[in-house]
Symmetry: D2
């Protein structure tokens, strides 16, 4: 048994564009994997990504890669529009699959992939990289352990001077990060059940460059996401307000990424009072210390790659499986619909 584990998993990366080289680097650094191929329609691009010193083989031919019996896993970093086709081919060739976010171009395509993988008993994992940062792992612990109490609101800001994409708007480009993090840290029972989206295209790019998503959480809470391609300053901050404590995650503050405040508003509802008097609620304010937990710096992609390996060798569901990718897609599609309908509130997760 242990030998099976010790044997590195043969893996191929498909796509040598923006993200592929990061996957290449992390698979090379992992003892759990043996990177065999880098596949791209543009051979020169694959070669440049590998550099002149690598023994990894570049290729333009996906079929060859999928036919290689040493290849047990495929990581896909091609444009979202091609995810369905490439991932489906890989799954049908019996390979475990890691897919760059978003899982697919549409929820329907994503569902096809999830069902195919489930049918075949293969791992289908979505590379929601941020979920594997030490900060988000810790946030998940803090939220799920109840340290924050009940989650009351979430406010997430992800803005910077970003590449204006030609095929997708800022919601589809940036919000998948926030939505996948939300999906990762929030308990299942308070996952968003409706979304309203407002966007603007003040530069005439043909699609929203600035957008705000308001997500309704079951139980009266609210999550809000601000994404923006036009901001000259980079901000990556998420606040999670809980009934006991409130957490602020500032991803750009490397010396203090997470701050947990024992500070907030408490409301007491005297039991003995009638409905009338209950309006005079008793509000009190806590003003306690702040704790910034120590985090061990580790590259998120490295942890993500280990999670992929762990899922393959043990057969367990990865932390960010295809279904999490599907939930993100569902919200993105609802947000697009809301944008088209002038900010109307669109339900999500009805079928869950």
């Amino acid at each position: 048994m242990s030998e099976q584990i010790d044997e590195p998993i043969g893996v191929a990366v498909v796509g040598a564009g923006y993200w592929g080289p990061n996957l290449v680097r992390n698979f090379q650094a992992s003892q759990a994997f043996r990177l065999l191929w880098l596949c791209d329609l543009d051979l020169g691009r694959a070669q440049r990504a590998l550099g002149p010193y690598s023994t990894v083989q570049p290729t333009t031919d996906l079929a060859t890669v999928l036919a290689d019996p040493r290849v047990r896993a495929v990581a896909i970093a091609t444009p979202a529009g091609t995810h369905l086709q490439v991932a489906l081919a890989a799954l049908r060739a019996g390979k475990h699959v890691l897919v760059e976010k978003p899982l697919a171009a549409t929820h329907r395509d994503g569902l096809t992939l999830v069902e195919e993988a489930e049918r075949r008993g293969l791992v289908l994992m979505c590379d929601h990289t941020y979920c594997y940062t030490p900060a988000v792992m810790r946030i998940r612990d803090l939220v799920r352990s109840g340290d924050l109490g009940e989650v009351q609101y979430v406010d997430s800001v992800r803005i910077n001077l970003g590449l204006v994409q030609r095929d997708i708007d800022v919601v589809w480009d940036l919000a998948p990060h926030d939505l996948s993090i939300l999906d990762f840290v929030l308990p299942e029972e308070i996952r968003p059940d409706a979304v309203a989206a407002h966007g603007a295209d003040p530069i005439g790019a043909g699609r929203s460059c600035v957008a705000y998503l308001t997500l309704r959480l079951p139980g009266g809470g609210m999550a809000h996401v601000h994404v923006n391609w036009l901001s000259p300053v980079k901000v990556r901050t998420t606040m999670i307000g809980g009934s006991k404590r409130t957490l602020v995650w500032d991803d750009l503050n490397s010396s203090q990424r997470i701050s947990v405040y024992d500070r907030g508003v408490d409301v007491a509802y005297p039991d003995e009072l009638g409905a009338e008097e209950r309006r005079d609620l008793l509000v009190s304010y806590r003003s306690g210390d702040m704790i910034a937990p120590a985090l061990v710096e580790r590259e998120a992609l490295g942890s993500m790659v280990e999670e992929f390996a762990g899922s393959i060798t043990t057969g367990r569901t990865p932390l960010t499986d295809g279904r999490s990718g599907l939930r993100v897609l569902e919200i993105l599609e609802a947000a697009s619909r809301s944008l088209a309908e002038g900010g109307a509130l669109i339900p999500v997760g009805v079928s869950r």
Copy 2:
């Protein structure tokens, strides 16, 4: 004439609660005014606000104050629900009036005040204090001079652990600051023409404690305001994105309140191309220097008090006149309606 100017203006402050003492202090510090009365229903509170060393006279009787011929101006810092009554009495007694924000409890009440003041040729000024900070004065200059180019988006955040009010929600409590600043700095032609509001009351306070306003600006721009009573950290940041430059105002960074970035996205539309090709817009990115203009620190209330004096002595319209207070009220009422209607977009300023 000059003697008329030199003679200090007799003034009375009505309301010795949270804000009144600040007005007292600033009227006392101003050479343009002679503070004569501090009026409050609670005499002890008025006395405590004045302290044991003051020669200013405390009183509970507004009629006495208004009957005092030395009193030419009245500053009102009572709860919003009483503004109509107190201000109307003062105007009818021929006094110039300064009113704490919001101008009145409703747009209709505010309009009554504005019309009364205009009929009598008296100054009616709204104490939109933030507009008189050196930062906002400079921002107004930068926006109106065209230095930023056309305003594309505004994002304003005003959050901290705030007093949960018993009669108004967080929108009415905090957003007047942002809305009055917007009214102050934006050119008239791009004042908001519609608003959508989303709020949450996760602590069961009976009113929104967290809220987001999305304001549509004529010409394709958008303004967004985030107000929150529950945040353990205080944030006071406004970003104004322009076609030429983008400004960030961080009111808590006393050493660098304003940063102007020559950084952004430019889109060119080649003239010779057909409609089809024009979709391939040419996007380019500017990455220039940032300039933080020097600001002279000055207490906003001091400048506000001088503006009140200047309006009285010269007869000119104050920078933050009753009409600006009205416009703020109109947006607040529309926001309340939007909140009640689940975030629907509500038009404003139709009648302007």
Copy 3:
């Protein structure tokens, strides 16, 4: 007895220049005091400091003030060179005395005052304002309770664009703050026992405008103070490294003034080893959480004034008594000597 306590202490402020008005404001706000006089050689300045609404009496005649039997305490905010004369007169008139820092122009003068006060059983207190900030009070607790372990090093930076003084250098102008804080928070047994000073006058002002003090602490520790009039940015940071924890005080970060890090270097010395092997010390690194204790914001001068009142009514020694002022003077004089001798290490506290 309780009546004696309840009766406000009659107090006079001498000096209406830069600092005097702050004392005036705080004595007026204190229920423990009744401010009777503001004395200054320039009557107009005293009148302007009081403003047109005050019932406090301005005067130019110190003798009148000292002859007033209602005056039990005198607060002196005149130039340092006059402290000896004014304070001595006040003490000889039987008044309790509060003196602006530094206690006197020289250690010898200061000693005269201390001895006079002790002989007469009067309070002589030095207005080391910073010691009364909530932050420094908390730091004192943290250091003295042993929470930080043994103090290993202190690094203090106090720089900004400051007024180039005509009669004193930057060491005498700014370092008294740092030295009085050190005196306040450090346990007696590790008070500095030697100082070396380096300074520069790069603008030709005739005295040091930038200076560094290195203070030797008994037991192998070191404290270091950086003072600078020429810095365009304001920095007010003190780090106190302890064997258990390290504290960082950033006085300009109002939302997180104190941060206590459970992070550092531990060295173990295996007992069983010979001297030779002991060189191979065992170094280990702690990397724990950071805690930012909640501080209640309170104006330091208000607490200082209460301490003065408490010392007068109970007869106890104030936290910052004349002797603490003396110790600061001794280090300042040694620093001046070191500057004159090219940075030589000058002993202090020999006679303690």
Copy 4:
């Protein structure tokens, strides 16, 4: 000629410890070089540094490397104590040499290397990496172009929780960065001419863990360096005060590394006055804008490697040549002497 330039320079890296892998990565990324060998006494370490996918050859045998005629350049990242021997062997084998900082263990050893390289007409370059950051390159321009005016003072802080070294103190470990930067940006005529050093070893490590260097600059200026292994927070800030402007470099603020302040103190000396009156100098204060110049992010090691290539192919002196390494060594040795002599001021650069 152009062919000679186009042909990549064969290079070997010696030392696969902490820094070597960074050199390996950057030589691999450079088109100007062809990395042929990675040499380390520990073959496994060399293999691990290369990883399982590299075609670069690991070896333990320096002689083989030096005998390889394809190798034209050698980069040395071994402990400082071995620099003399390894670099001398490489130079004698006719190879151009890049040496990790410090150039050598002693000034005398460094001089031997410099003279050997000059005799043979070979490049000897010191890897003062920080000098090749975009920030320091820009600072050099700003200082040397006169934009800051005359340099009046420099204050440099480089502190964090660092590895307590077993063979060198914190001065030799960290100060070479600051000293090489100073050497790089300051005009030749104001290079430090004396140094005083104060250190402490509060943890009993057997060598200074906290230290302060005061450097005298010809013309009345001063530079100061604070290095510290024990600080729980990381600070990397350098302030350069000039007669016209003052620059602050905060290397950890990736969004605003350099800030140039048009703020400071001006002193005027009226010509017509006698010596006596001239003491009444006219001090004025400038309070202008701050500019944060845009910097293109680029990895310093990449630029350093290009500089090495440029020096080899064109024969010009590299920006950080052996002589700059020598000047740094001279100050380090003087600092050690000052530490041993209780902070005495030790002259440097006498022989220049």
